[in-house]
Amino acid sequence: MNLQEQNISDNNFESCIKCTICTVYCPVTAVNPDYPGPKQAGPDGERYRLKRPYFYDEALKYCLNCKRCEVACPNDVKIGDIIQAARIKYASHGPSLRDTMLANTDFMGQFATRLAPVVNFSLGLKPVKYLMDKVLRIDDHRTFPKYSGTRFESWFRKKAEAAQESFTKHVSYFHGCYVNYNYPQLGKDLVTVMNALGYGVRLLDREKCCGVAKIANRCIDEATRDGENNLRAIREAVGRGDEVLATSSTCCFTMRDEYPHLLHLDNHDVRDHIMLATLFIYRLLDEGKARIAFRKDYRKKIAYHTPCHMEKLGWTIFSTSLLQMIPGVDFIKLDSHCCGIAGTYGFKKENYAYSQGIGAPLFDQIRASGCDFVACDCETCKWQIEMSAGVPVLNPISVLADAIDIEETRRLNGVS
């Protein structure tokens, strides 16, 4: 009997054998009884939604899209994608003003960086927080990331771009909104490290937000436009022979996997060229294509936190291996556990308590570890951990920039 060679279904939803492992691994199910859990919200609910969209359950909004269900699934069911696709297709009302504001990181960033001192000051004021809480339902416990007065792109054009063309080898850098508007130092660190390793850094042509916040807040048309633009810019970079590096695991994951799965953008030609900077650097060193020298006096106790999308990418090993190469580092790998913020999710008042409940075991472990700081490849985890555990968080690239002996590394790689 060869009539059915294989079973094919959208996001493999029919491959679910109902083992329920995903629900065991779901960080939301553990704290929020109103959330039906990934199995029910995903493949189980999908059968009912195919019957009639009427069966859509509004509780799907509690999914934080961490994709830990997909990592847990033994049968490769794209559970998180099923849930996000259902939210996009069936949710009864469009994104609110708040959701639109949170989603449009580019727009808000362009506005806020111009007025950074005023915006930063205002966002810290109690009456402003109170108003945002009451009017927009952005939780007043939340600490907003500070906006930078100078955008990374502006700094790069003025201070760094000219020197990059003197390199014979290049990478392109997808910096993302956070580096551009909030924390240009991470971008500067990447330029420092890559230059020391013998690579010039280029920016993408008119990079837009990766779209993760727009997807989560169902601003799908905007996310698709941004995605198309980014794929155009990435194709251009790959066409000139560059790999495209990111310092944010979530931006990287979104462009590789959410583009095709949720926005239906075909990226198969460039997907393998989009990668995290730590992966690229690890491979360079592993293959002997670059060498690295560390400072003799670097002494830190570092705890590494695995962001959910890093878990999904399966690339934690590259970041942790790089950190463990540093001679003076006392390294702790924290249990892989969602911090609870999930981008804009934790900013919303209705999610705040769940957000903190999800992260609580992680915060306890961090505080008990006695680490000098936490290393982590995701900026929103950084906000959450710094606010909730009271410990500073650094991207592994910033750790490298601090720990390497720059002069010696440049010399080893023949950079003048």
Binding site: Q4, N7, I8, E14, I17, P36, D44, R47, Y48
Partner: protein, 558 residues
């Protein structure tokens, strides 16, 4: 046990749609009624068909009389059984290998029978039903729909009970009481404890489908029926949202029906001997045929997970001139054995189809009334079934429906307005027993309390527990726990569980490849590996083959 001193006006044998419908009609006309079923409701052909709410279009060309009956009942059922019916609409598609001439004749026959039939542009048909074979060259839209036979029968049982009928499941008729030429009652044997009893009634109606052949023999009359097996496949989710039929002379595997969360392709037609009607296997040849033809209706079936295969027996009154059974009118056969065979007080109602169960019940009840000298009109076409009553709060509730969880919406779909009797509010009530089909603890408890549930198989038929993707792997043990808590099967919980899982496996085995094979493997790890369940215990009363040799012999002798 029922009080044997009562003399009923009417004893109805058979817990399918026709029997339940007859019991309802009799009870509504004020007759003291009892409904007797040897196993569970819907255990025979009622629970083993397409679940197609025929418009009549399928019969318009070959059997105009059936077609006219169908469209009339179609309209009635949409009104009286709205919670059992889904008004999906249906398509009759013409494929390149079929003739468009047939479509022309088909449309004119439909219109003659009073069935609306709109010829659609193939592009429009694809827009309405994207899963349809895109190569189609013609399409006609007809008012087909789907109907849930389990719900329909349960609602008729509830209605009969509300009007004072007694209901007795797991009691098999093993003989008749007689006074001269008159049947005055039935002898019963309990399938749970083997005890025998007698029930007296002025008129006995046999509504037993193909099993009516045997019942007639017990009464000393002969009804020539022959069993025609029809096999069907259930797919894991809804591929189509409209019924898809082939626009040609009725043949094998030419109807794809969306039903609840799944869709069903069928059917075949094979003559089988009587000794196989209780134990049917779907063969690999039938699976091949159903898939091969089904793919022509909707190419997606080629890669859609198949949940299980099953087969029913058409209770056709034999026409020896046609060996295939296809061209026989499936018209209603209502036999007054007093006139036909000189046996008073005994009626057989057979033939017909699920669609016409109400009409069959009406004809049988009219005859019962004539015999008893009762002159009350049939009102089953006007009075809605329990669950389908007009509900003043309906509109109000619909406005708040957005706040309902998927399982509350699903329960409302299954029980209609009676879903209000399902407890809500506590986490314990709302916890799910069956996750695939969204059956809550409270819904299971409601079924146990109200819907004649004695074991897991009954529970499945009343709630859809175990009918979903995992075929009971995750929910059967939970359901068994709830039954045990209600003290319904304390001694037999493990046997019940083993039998339930075996019954699920029976339907999965003919299609056991791909994801279904994974599921079966997982299920066997859980039940045999982890829970240590085996099926070497006593056979459960729901197995028709349960009768021992001596019991068979005893039954034959009567």
């Amino acid at each position: 046990m029922k009080d044997t001193s009562i003399e009923y006006d009417v004893i109805v044998i058979g817990g399918g749609a026709t029997g339940a419908g007859t019991a309802r009609d009799c009870a509504m006309r004020g007759l003291k009624t009892i409904l007797i079923e040897r196993l569970d409701f819907t255990a025979g052909a009622t629970g083993r068909n397409h679940g197609l709410l025929h418009s009549g279009a399928r019969y318009a060309h070959t059997d105009p009389e059936s077609a006219a009956e169908c469209i009339k009942e179609n309209i009635i059922l949409k009104r009286i059984a709205r919670h059992c019916v889904e008004d999906t609409g249906g398509l009759f598609v013409t494929l390149p290998e079929d003739s468009l001439d047939y479509q022309d004749a088909f449309v004119s026959d439909c219109l003659k029978a009073g069935i609306s039939a709109d010829v659609l542009d193939p592009k429009e048909a694809i827009r309405l039903e994207p899963s349809v074979n895109p190569d189609l060259i013609g399409a006609v839209r007809v008012p087909d729909g789907s109907i849930d036979p389990f719900r329909l029968t349960t609602a008729n049982v509830l209605a009969a009970r509300l009007d004072g009928a007694d209901i007795l499941t797991y009691h098999e008729v093993v003989g008749f009481l007689r006074e001269g030429d008159r049947i005055t009652g039935v002898r019963l044997r309990s399938r749970r404890d083997g005890s025998e009893s007698e029930i007296r009634g002025k008129v006995t109606v046999s509504a037993c489908g193909i099993w009516g052949h045997h019942i007639a023999e017990l009464a000393g009359v002969r009804v020539n029926m022959y069993p025609a097996k029809g096999a069907l496949l259930i797919f894991g989710h809804r591929v189509n949202n409209m019924v898809i039929n082939r626009c040609r002379k009725p043949a094998d595997a030419d109807i794809l029906v969306p039903g609840d969360t799944i869709c069903v392709i069928g059917t075949t037609s094979t003559r089988i001997p009587f000794d196989r009607i209780d134990d049917m296997e779907v063969t690999s040849g039938e699976v091949d045929l159903l898939l091969r033809e089904g793919i022509k209706l909707s190419p997606r079936l080629a890669y859609t997970r198949i949940l299980r295969a099953y087969a029913g027996v058409r209770p056709l009154v034999a026409d020896d001139s046609d060996p295939t059974g296809r061209s026989i009118s499936r018209g209603i056969v209502c036999l007054d054995h007093a006139k036909r065979d000189g046996v008073e007080g005994f009626i057989t109602i057979t033939g017909g189809k699920l669609m016409t169960y109400r009409l069959m019940a009406q004809e049988a009840t009219d005859l019962v009334c004539r015999k008893l000298g009762v002159d009350r009109p049939c009102r089953t076409a006007e009075v809605p079934l329990p669950g389908s009553e007009p509900d003043a709060a309906d509109e109000n509730r619909r406005q708040h429906i957005i706040g309902l969880s998927t399982e509350q919406k699903a329960a409302e779909g299954r029980h209609g307005t009676w879903s209000g009797r399902i407890e809500t509010g506590s986490a314990a009530d709302e916890a799910l027993v069956c996750e695939c089909e969204q059956v809550s603890v409270a819904e299971v408890n409601y079924a146990i309390d109200e819907l004649h549930v004695h074991n897991l198989i009954n529970m499945r038929r009343r709630t859809r527990l175990g009918m979903g993707t995992c075929q009971g792997a995750l929910c059967a043990c939970r359901g068994a726990g709830l039954l045990e808590r209600h003290d319904r099967c304390t001694q037999r919980t493990l046997d019940d569980l083993a039998w339930f899982m075996n019954e699920r496996w029976h339907g999965m085995s003919p299609v056991c490849w791909g994801e279904t094979l994974c599921e079966v493997q997982f299920s066997s790890w859980l039940y045999q590996g982890v829970l240590g369940l085996d099926h070497s215990g006593p056979v459960f009363p729901d197995t028709p083959e349960n009768l021992t040799e001596t019991e068979h012999e005893a039954a034959e002798k009567v």
